[in-house]
Every structure is written in C-alpha cells, then in structure tokens.
Symmetry: C2
Subunit: 314 residues, 2 copies
C-alpha cells in the first residue's frame, strides 16, 4: 500500500518529505492534496533567502550558517535553486554535500530544485517546498538561489529575511546588480573579503544604502565574511537575527506573510489556469490552428488571445 505522504511527513518521516517535494517539483497529481493537508501545519519556520551572483560562494556560506544554527540546537532545511538541468543539478549538490558531511546530520534536510522546464512555476514550487519543510518541523529554512534577476526576486519573496551575497571584483555589471538588489536585500554579506577590492565594495554599498535608506527604518547591515575560513559567520547570523527581531516587533513580518499568502495564491492560480487553458487548446487542436493562421497572417496573436479569453472566461 502506498504511504500517505502528508501524514508520514507530519510524523517526521524524511522519505515522505523527500517524496512531497518531488511531487511538488514534478507537479504530480497528488501534490495539491498533499499541500492541502500540510497547510494547517505551516507558519512556524523562519525562512532565510540567500541570493547573489554566480561565484559568490553562496553554497559555502549557506553550509556555515546552517552549522551555526545547528549549534544553537535548531533544525535546518535547505532548498538550493539550481539554474541547471535537474539531473546535473543533483550531482553538483551531491558533490558539495559529500565534501562537508552536513547530510550526515539528521537535523538537516537538503534539497535542490531545478529551474529547467519549470514554465515560470518555480516560485510557487519553491514556496510549496518551503511549506513542506515548515510542516515537517524545520526551525530555519534556507532558500538559496543563483543570480539577481527577476526569477530570483520572485523566489526570495518566499523569505522572511533576504541576504544578498556579493564578492569583490565583479566587473561593470556590479553597478546594475547593486541597484537591483537594494530593494530585496535585508542583510548584505561581502564574501571573499580577503580578496582585493572588498573595502571598496563595502564603501560603495554603504553609500548606496545610505542614499536609499534615508526614509527607511531598517538600514541593511553589511558584513565582511570569509566563509571558507568561518570568518564573519557569527556576525552574519547576528545581522539576520536582528532583522528578524525588527520585522517581528514592528508588525512587518505579519504584513510580509499576508502579502506572501496573497502572492502565492495568485501564483498558483495563474499557473493552474495557464496549464488548464493550454491543455484545453492543445486537446481541441485549436492551438495548432491558431498558430497556422497567425503564420499565414490571417490573424495575429493579440486577436487570438482576445478570442480565447472571451471563449473561456465566464
């Protein structure tokens, strides 16, 4: 007999947690039912988003932070969003884990999720995976993403506190990145702080944050870190905890979570409606018909969309 995934997960069965996330990731038929059962048990975990450009050392940093939380006696979940194909992603994550033995620790659950073929559903899949870990009982959940594009911004919306990791010497694009991250970073970490240009980067970031922060109550702190030497980890954890304390006491956390509930619901809604309508257009053969007519210049995509909406919506 098949296991009741949600029930087993709530009992603390790691295999069930793993299966739940697989169901979420692959959009299995049972995913919705699992989530419906898990939902009432969510809302307890602290969710920390970690993002930054490629090469910033986010994996190493995440590992060190996870250990620090474990030393506090807290259980940890890690969701690593992998920009590669799922099959290679697993291997990369595997390598990383084997190196440091974090998976030997029963109090840590690590999972990578691939972005390939996700058709824009990644942010709500990530949010559901976070909820599964939350319902499982994890105290702290890390969501680690590579990059600072729109998809990363969407993903870190699942977080209570978002840490942006930068490194010295990132070339011209750093200007663009710095501006882009101001709106998402609650806490900044300058990793590889022993490299040339770290102090310059800290100065530049301070200037930008001072300029941006004039009207804001929370001034994001900047911490220099050398993750692979464990330097600055304690201070980084303090920064994160200070931010969480700040948003908890000011009602911002409650407000963020309400906003998140709303956005996640709309995300699931848009994704499901999109799938429903696409499937219907494929099944009736209309999709191919429309494409042929567009190619023949008998109509155009905008006219087709208006027609489909009229046909399908009440």
């Amino acid at each position: 007999m098949a296991m009741d995934i949600a029930e087993e997960l709530l009992k603390g069965n790691r295999l069930a947690l793993s299966r739940a996330i697989t169901a979420i990731e692959n959009e299995y038929d049972n995913a919705t039912e699992i989530m419906q059962k898990l939902y009432p048990h969510t809302g307890h975990a602290f969710v920390l988003g970690i993002t930054g450009p490629p090469g910033a050392g986010k994996s190493t940093l995440t590992d060190k932070l996870a250990r620090a939380y474990r030393d506090q006696g807290k259980t940890v979940g890690i969701i690593a969003i992998d920009p590669t194909s799922p099959f290679t992603g697993g291997a990369i994550l595997g390598d990383r884990i084997r190196m440091n033995g974090l998976t030997m620790d029963e109090g840590v659950f690590i999972r990578s999720m691939g972005t390939r073929g996700s058709l824009g559903g990644l942010s709500h899949k990530t949010a559901d995976a976070v909820k599964a870990m939350d319902a499982f009982g994890k105290d702290v959940i890390f969501v680690e993403t590579v990059g600072v594009g729109q998809s990363e911004v969407d993903i870190v919306k699942a977080a209570d506190t978002t840490m942006v990791v930068l490194i010295p010497g990132m070339g011209d694009d750093i200007q663009a990145i710095k501006a882009g991250i101001l709106e998402i970073g609650d806490v900044f970490t300058i990793n590889k702080a022993d490299h040339d240009g770290a102090d310059k980067l800290v100065r530049e970031m301070n200037m930008m944050l001072d300029l941006d922060g004039v009207m804001k109550e929370w001034r994001p702190p900047i911490q220099k870190v050398i993750a692979n030497q464990n330097e600055g980890i304690k201070e980084t954890i303090e920064n994160v905890e200070n931010h969480f304390k700040y948003i908890s006491e000011n009602g911002i956390l409650a407000q963020r979570r309400t906003e998140r509930t709303k956005n996640e619901m709309l995300d699931v809604l848009n994704s499901n409606i999109g799938k429903y309508i696409t499937n219907k257009l494929v099944a009736t053969g209309e999709l191919d018909e429309f494409v042929e007519k567009i190619k023949a210049h008998e109509t155009d995509p905008y006219t087709v969309v208006a027609k489909v909406m009229k046909d399908m919506l009440k």
Copy 2:
C-alpha cells in the same frame, strides 16, 4: 492630435518606435492595438540573443558586433534587458552609449527594458519589442540579457540564434552555469580571453559540448574574444552567420519560429488572463477575503484556487 504610433513606426519614425516600446513596457491600453497593426510587417529581422553572467562584458561585445553588422550595411536594433530598476537602468545604458557614440548612428536603435515589477511578463514584452523593431525594418536585432537563470532562458526564446558569453575565472558556480547553458547556446564566446584560465575554460567547454553533442547535428563553436580590443569579433560574426545559415537550410529556423509563435501566444494569454482574474478578485474584494480565511486556517490556497477556477472558467 496624437500620432498614430503604428503607422508612423512603419514609415520609419524613430520617435514612434520609441513610443511603441514604451507602450509595450508599461502595458498601456494602446499596446495591443499597436501590436495588431505591426504584426503583419514582422518576420524579416534576424534576432540574436546574447546572454551570460554578470561581468562577462556583454555590452562591449554587443557594441562591437553591432558595428560589424553596420559595416556590412545592415541596420541594427539593440534591446538590453536590465535587471535593475528602470530608472537606474536608463542611466547605465546611457553612460554606456555615450562612451562609444553608437547612438549617433541613425542605423542603430538602442533600448533598455527593466525587469522590475514586470510580474513575469518580461519575456512577452521583450518579444513584442523585438517585433516592433522588426516591423520598423531593422535587419539584425540584438536581445542582451544578464544572467543564465530561467528568465533569461525565457527571454532568449525570442532569438533565432543565441550566443552565450563566458569569461575565465568564474568560481564554483561555473559548473552549474555550464550545464545550464548547454541547452540554450548555439554559439559560445569566451570574452576577456587574455585573462588567466581562458584556455582551460575553452578546453572544459569543448569537453562538455563534445559529450553533449554526440547526437546533435550542430556543434556550437567556441570563439575566444577580447571585445574591448576588437579581437575575435569577425570570427564571432562568422559563427553566428554559420548558425543562421544552418538553421535556415535545415528547416530549423521555420520550426523555431513556429514554436516561438505558439509560446508567445500562450505567454500573452497567460499574462492577460492572470491580470484579468487578479483585477476581478481585487475589485470584488474576494482576494482580501480569501487571504483572511487562509490566515485564519479556515481554508488553504489550493482549495481557494480550485474554487476560483470553477467560478471563473467556462
């Protein structure tokens, strides 16, 4: 009297092109009508996607390639997808352009588009901006994006040929990136080839492409480039033209464009339906009601979504 943007654009009015893209970007009411009028005049331009991680020197490379095309007598459009807020993005692009005088050339039209607040609609907005430039009569249209995440993959779907730009010394994440780009790169460029590690990167890329390409007809070429010294630009253009020749002669171009038409239509459809339903839920006050009930654990997002779909879809 207001100008007829589509009509003026088709006559070659640059201001009209600029206004059309502004309408697309900001989802003005007239955007759909403009696109309906422009659509029959599209399909002539060659679209080159350029993507790669921050700091890879994509802007410089794009400028050099654009000049090379101009030297062939072709007109050029450049759409730079900017991961930052629109207001800063414009400034950065402005700086870049002023430095090299490319905007002094009437045969070049450059436009940046911001990713902020795009709610996932960026890929179809980019596709529409490409169409506007296509209808305007541009021979070659560059779409330049920073990053290698899912959103970049979505954006380069608008391209006939996709170039991935890498640089030596990108740290651990290069492994993840390399795997992720295999499926999107038609042509690879190793910029800053005078830096340490360029040959190593070329060797690694060659190994990956050989492994990946066993069953494929097109083996993506790799070209070492020093963009700011104009080295390797001619060879890069040749690589791009060879790829375009290959896909044209093998029916792959026609197939890609059909696929693109289909995806773009579904993109617009999903985006419009999402907006329609969200607006309706906001207007009726249902959205807030649902969120309150979810927060009170009287229901959950998945149950709400099922109800809304039942209510709204025929």
